[in-house]
């Protein structure tokens, strides 16, 4: 193969060297000034197309990863962590959609208490992180997803999460909810649902 252009090789090496997504800005800083970064990345992506490794855009940056169809074979030689149990995945989903969110709010949505094991699993997998305190009595810790969450689930950003109406469409029988949807509404709904009043309270798992 002939020598590739310097900027392409440099960007390739920079992304290749790292296990974590490399930000576009870092690549731009690295490459010679007149480099068309986008075009270079496109060329690079094309070059890896059809190989065992692919260039993806996740978690706010670029990283190389093995092609998904090779997973089965690779699991034989690479140790893989256990898949997250359903409870953990649901808790993660709540945090992803409602973040920043307190433990109590998570429990309200699930109608069940949040086990220590669940939280430990999420923290250990570096999927969620505490992000300050809610300014309510007791100043409960707020939880949010991490940057690694995005990379772990091949998301470019939180915007990549499906909108609620799309999710509900998928959920077989349920037609889209009547009210308008979107991130803004999410918080509103949450307030309505979580705002504790007599009717809601019995749903809460007893401490």
């Amino acid at each position: 193969m002939t020598e590739r252009p310097y900027a392409e090789r440099l960007i390739e090496a920079a992304i290749f060297a790292s296990r974590e997504p490399v930000k576009l800005r870092s690549l731009a800083n690295l490459a010679p000034e007149d480099t068309d970064i986008e075009a270079t990345i496109a060329a690079l992506r094309a070059r890896y197309d059809g190989s065992g490794v692919e260039l993806v855009d996740v978690g706010g940056g670029f990283m190389f990863r093995t092609a998904p169809d090779l997973a089965m074979a690779l699991r034989k030689i690479i140790e893989v962590p256990r898949r997250l149990p359903r409870v953990v995945m649901e808790t993660l989903a709540i945090i992803a959609y409602h973040q920043p969110v307190t433990r109590n709010e998570i429990e309200q949505v699930r109608g069940a208490s949040l086990g220590q094991a669940t939280l430990d699993a999420l923290l250990q997998a570096d999927l969620v992180t505490p992000c300050g305190h809610k300014e309510t009595p007791g100043r409960p810790t707020l939880w949010a997803t991490t940057a690694h969450f995005l990379a772990a689930f091949s998301l470019r950003s939180l915007q990549d999460l499906p909108k609620r109406e799309d999710l509900l469409l998928d959920a077989a029988t349920a037609p889209p909810p009547s009210e308008g949807e979107g991130a803004e509404n999410r918080d509103l709904e949450e307030e309505q649902n979580i705002g504790t009043d007599a009717e809601v309270k019995p749903l809460t798992a007893d401490p």
Binding site: R65, I78, T118, A152, D170, A171, T173, L203
Partner: protein
């Protein structure tokens, strides 16, 4: 009730007849079970028959209770609340109570929809190519950073606190040093005796030449013997004369001859 324990697929386990579900462990809480029962009705969550749902839930709990007396409080609290809700919904003649019941039913439906959404979201996340499971990143990063430690990070405050730390430690603990010798040495006695000789031309008791500062009896005995040794030494070199008039009597000393002493 173990909330975390997983059964592979609760939906399949719970077949058409909900009264047969006795294993509640598959559900992550009462709300989870309710949602599952609602799904079994295969209708819009907003339009589910809360009454039917309540009946089913109570039936499940009742059945489960026959076998498992240790049903968790969560499940029973929910059962109690649903019973209350059912009574409200069944009493349409009482306007305020009916509204109360409808509000509660609406709230419940809303919560179920919320949970449904989360289930879908979790399922969707489950379909994503998962890092280290379906796709793998570079096994090990290449560390291309080079750390330049040539510069010093120092500050006056650091210097001062180091000085204070050293001083305070220096005061607190000192390296071991053997105690200085306290005994009047022969050398000292010799020197002292020699100095005193000028002022003692006549016979003088040897004890007069003892240093005075010793209160310790051991030290003063040592001084006495050192002084005695010194006097013998001086006698041997011809500087002094010694005499003892009786056994165990006082030892007296006098210089031999002043010019000779000066010469030495």
């Amino acid at each position: 009730m173990a909330l975390v324990s997983e059964s592979e697929n609760p939906q399949e386990e719970r077949s058409v007849n909900p009264s047969l579900i006795l294993d509640l462990d598959g559900f992550a809480g009462p709300l989870d079970l309710l949602l599952d029962l609602a799904r079994a009705q295969k209708v819009d969550l907003a339009r589910i028959s809360i009454l039917a749902l309540v009946e089913q839930y109570l039936a499940v709990i009742e059945n489960a209770r026959h076998l498992r007396l240790e049903l968790a409080a969560d499940w029973l609290v929910m059962a109690a609340w649903l019973t209350w809700l059912k009574s409200r919904l069944l009493l349409p003649q009482d306007k305020p109570q009916e509204e109360e019941g409808e509000d509660a039913a609406h709230n419940l439906a809303e919560k179920l929809r919320q949970l449904e959404l989360i289930h879908s979201a979790a399922a969707w996340l489950g379909t994503r190519p998962l890092l280290n499971q379906d796709v793998f990143a570079r096994g090990k990063s290449e560390d291309l950073t080079e750390i330049d430690r040539s510069r010093l990070r120092v500050s006056i405050s650091g210097l001062l606190s180091a000085y204070l730390a050293a001083r305070s430690r220096g005061t607190a603990s000192v390296p071991y040093q053997p105690k200085p010798m306290r005994f009047w040495s022969v050398q000292q006695a010799l020197q002292f005796l020699f100095q005193q000789l000028h002022s003692t031309p006549d016979w003088t008791d040897l004890s007069r030449f003892l240093p005075e500062q010793y209160s310790d009896p051991l030290a003063s005995r040592a001084a006495l013997s050192s002084t005695f040794m010194a006097s013998l030494e001086l006698a041997r070199s011809g500087h002094v004369l010694l005499r003892q008039t009786e056994t165990f009597g006082a030892i007296e000393l006098r210089r031999t001859d002043p010019p000779a002493a000066e010469d030495e």
